[in-house]
Symmetry: D2
């Protein structure tokens, strides 16, 4: 088990007419992720409603902020129990046998134009044996072809752009890997967490984007930008791509400050709590979905 203490500080200055916000900064409620000691504070006397998506477990918090400073503080203790499996034993699932709730992740989305990558995916990965190792080959291809460089992409950058320009940040790596998986008929989704374990040279601790691919009977974690430690990926949300699980989606005119993130791991042998570390196992924080029928 992994235990992460999380603190998130978000600061904005809202224009006088106010603005609507959708936040996805609550640790998701999933069978593998236990959230406790949650504290939320907002400096404005406004109503914030939190809704848990029944399918994904994502918790979205919405509010209408007034003009002026908006400060949102969230902290929690998150315990993650991973499903670990031998990569060599995990197969792909044919399209006609996929669980229905995974089908939405096989179609193209805003930032993952998998429909345009069918030939490329076939040429690069079509001859590989199907299974976890093929997805790992896709991840490695993305890691190898794209350079991690801050400020080289923006909110409009999609997988097609990253394929051409071969540069980006974690979000761009994730979009390209997702698009390639879908082009191979493998459901893949965008997941958000923190970049625990990242090289401080890349900047202060930050939100992180990674990939979950559906293999065998559950969603497995992949980190194509390779900048963080997957075992520490506490999950904020999963969606089709970044459009679904931005940590903050803002409707209105607002000035923003870079978020402050603190994620600290705890070790406690007596409780079976270990520090996040790289390992060679296939990791999932998903409980598994039984096959259709």
């Amino acid at each position: 088990m992994i235990r992460i203490h999380l603190d998130v500080e978000l600061d904005y200055v809202v224009d006088p007419q106010g603005a609507d916000f959708v936040f996805n900064i609550h640790a998701a409620h999933t069978p593998c992720q236990w959230v406790s000691n949650e504290q939320l504070s907002i400096n404005q006397p406004i109503d914030a409603r939190v809704h848990t998506d029944p399918t994904s477990g994502n918790r979205y918090m919405r509010m209408r902020a007034q003009g002026g400073p908006l400060q949102v503080r969230y902290s929690a203790m998150v315990d993650i129990t991973h499903h670990q499996a031998d990569p060599n034993t995990i197969g792909e699932v044919p399209v006609h046998l996929l669980p229905p709730e995974t089908m939405g992740y096989i179609y193209p989305s805003r930032y993952c134009q998998s429909d345009r990558l069918l030939r490329l995916a076939y040429n690069e990965f079509g001859q590989l044996p199907q299974g976890y190792m093929r997805v790992l080959a896709i991840r490695d291809w993305v890691t190898r072809h794209v350079a991690f460089t801050s400020n080289t992409s923006n909110g409009n950058t999609s997988a097609a752009d990253t394929l051409i320009e071969q540069v980006g940040v974690c979000r761009d790596f994730a979009h390209l890997m997702i698009a390639l998986c879908r082009a191979c008929n493998i459901p893949a989704r965008f997941a958000t967490g923190t970049d625990y374990g990242a090289d401080p040279a890349l900047g202060p601790p930050d939100f992180h984007a990674y990939v979950e691919a559906y293999l065998g009977d559950r969603w497995y974690i992949f980190d194509p930008s390779g900048t963080a430690i997957p075992m520490a990926f506490l999950r904020f949300g999963t969606g089709r791509d970044a459009a679904d699980v931005a940590f903050a989606t803002i409707f209105g005119s607002v000035q923003t400050v870079a978020p402050l993130i603190h994620a600290t791991a705890v070790e406690d042998a007596s409780l079976g709590i270990v520090l996040p570390h790289h390992n060679q196992m296939a990791l999932s924080t998903d409980q598994g979905i039984s096959l259709h029928r």
Copy 2:
């Protein structure tokens, strides 16, 4: 009430290695749409599984076809009971008050890059009073700016392309209108039906794409290409855009023939069944969603 007799004939020749298909040709099961007398036939001795999406009511049929001819025939009788409302009484819902299940339709998607159209939407529609009539203004703007011309777009064409090139088919009109609605913070989704009532000069009866926008407490119907009679839109599916509800999504190498569609309306005054006709009311085939809280 409207009653439509529907026949769909789909023909393919599948390459020897076989192919997976996802069809969305079953009339959706919704509280306003009653489907009876369904008949489905497939010429291959294969297993077809139909799954009803619990949220949308879409029915997806999946199968793995063998090499050779694949013939799929579907027929049904569909009764549609519309919710009709006075357009002037229907308002928009602020983002922070939207029902959670509508939120996915406010974000950009593969073919509806609403995130790029914020300024254009604000410039064109930002000063209009909010409500159904604003969405009608968006519909009219799309109808006015885009010319309906067959074979001018393809599977890669998105709202951004249609905005630039100002030409397309029903699907392209729908994508552009959806993107503009979302850019105005109005949930909008892609819906598929048949083009009952279309001018025969546009070609034989066909599938049709239209728009549903969330207003007041339910999803209302809009037909930006203006080629069909909205009252006759029996719904196959709704989704974020065409990627979600293609009548057929094919995974493999297949030759296709144009689909044959027959949709016939029945009139029976004794049962309150009228023929589909254009009217000025706001139409919905949606039961309504109570506001969050």
Copy 3:
């Protein structure tokens, strides 16, 4: 006549392996633009070769810089004698009668995808009487639809992007106006100068991009971003779009500092030298091209 004193200061730090540069910072030699008192200094002991393009009069300076700081200083006195004409007397030229040397400016280019805008251009401008006033209508359309905002576009931004996102800087306004002119079969080209007269609130003096359209028998000046005084546009270069006349094109790895530009106008009634000012005449710094044959 207008007289401008120009100073340009460019500073770079070149990576150890060196880099090639193409500069277009010399005032062009044209019959209407007289350049004197030129001074050029480069801090590195390297060979800089200046080539004057025989057709455009652009002067390109190329050099291979060594690793380390590179400082380029250029100053000149530039006298501009405008051709001024009554806007109402200037017509368009049919494609088959255009001078051959203008034909390259009627085709699409990297940042001006006029081929995609044919319908939009026809819908918006197709009914207007042909001539200078139609081009003015195109300019006004661009000015009205696009907002000038720094840091909203980048080196990949093209006319199609600006049309969608409706925001940009002078270069983006110019690209969109050029694309629309070409879509109306009017030759249009990208021109570079300084933003003499710009509101200091927009930032320090800078390079500027504007448009020249071929009408009557010569190229007339248009300033779609409307941020500067056209009469003061000393011309560095003209080309198909920004790709041709960047003030600096760099081949290699280099750190750059924002350029320093000083453009000062002189008034001397005894010599007929007036200060640049806005007026309603059609302005050209082009000598005129006789019609083919």
Copy 4:
């Protein structure tokens, strides 16, 4: 020497209001390409003016056609004397030493967004020894990654699209190769000819697009789609990309019929005339440009 007998038949039906045409179907006048026995016929009593571009040797024919059928017939005998060189002896030219007239071909253009491919080009080709063999490696990379399939691209398809979708026709192969060459700082241009020697299974004889790259002291021929025999490439035109040298650019509303092309090679040992054949030499139909200064 190669001798080709060429016949071109173009047929259109022009809408009643007439249309302007620019044709580039005359064999270019170049020092290496001798054109004789030219015959041109147009079925309409209209004025066609032919202009030879002084730099490229391209001959553009312009006319304003009346409503109704337009038939253009062109035939010629073209003798081509190639410059042939040992591939291993031909080097690249550093940017600062390139002849000025080649500089326009190092910048991005409408269909060749080399500016977006810098990292990809560096990653794939940056470590190869500079010279003809590196350009051959680029050609082979394009040939290997793109599949030749009719009707998979259109007039909007660019190198970036072809890179993503990995399919296209000769024009798309050429655009991608050009973009990659330019991204390596090698001037490259689009050239048009006929597909003499193409497999009849690809369809009837047609126009062809290929690439010329500037190496050593001249432009060398490359055929990335590999569908024809380069030695038989009689040149219609060269330009930045397809926008410059379409065989027909039409301004107006016109119905078109597929062009008919006949290119027949002659053998006559007594005159030193050989049949076009594949060989391993570097071929150029360019006279060579002396280095600047």
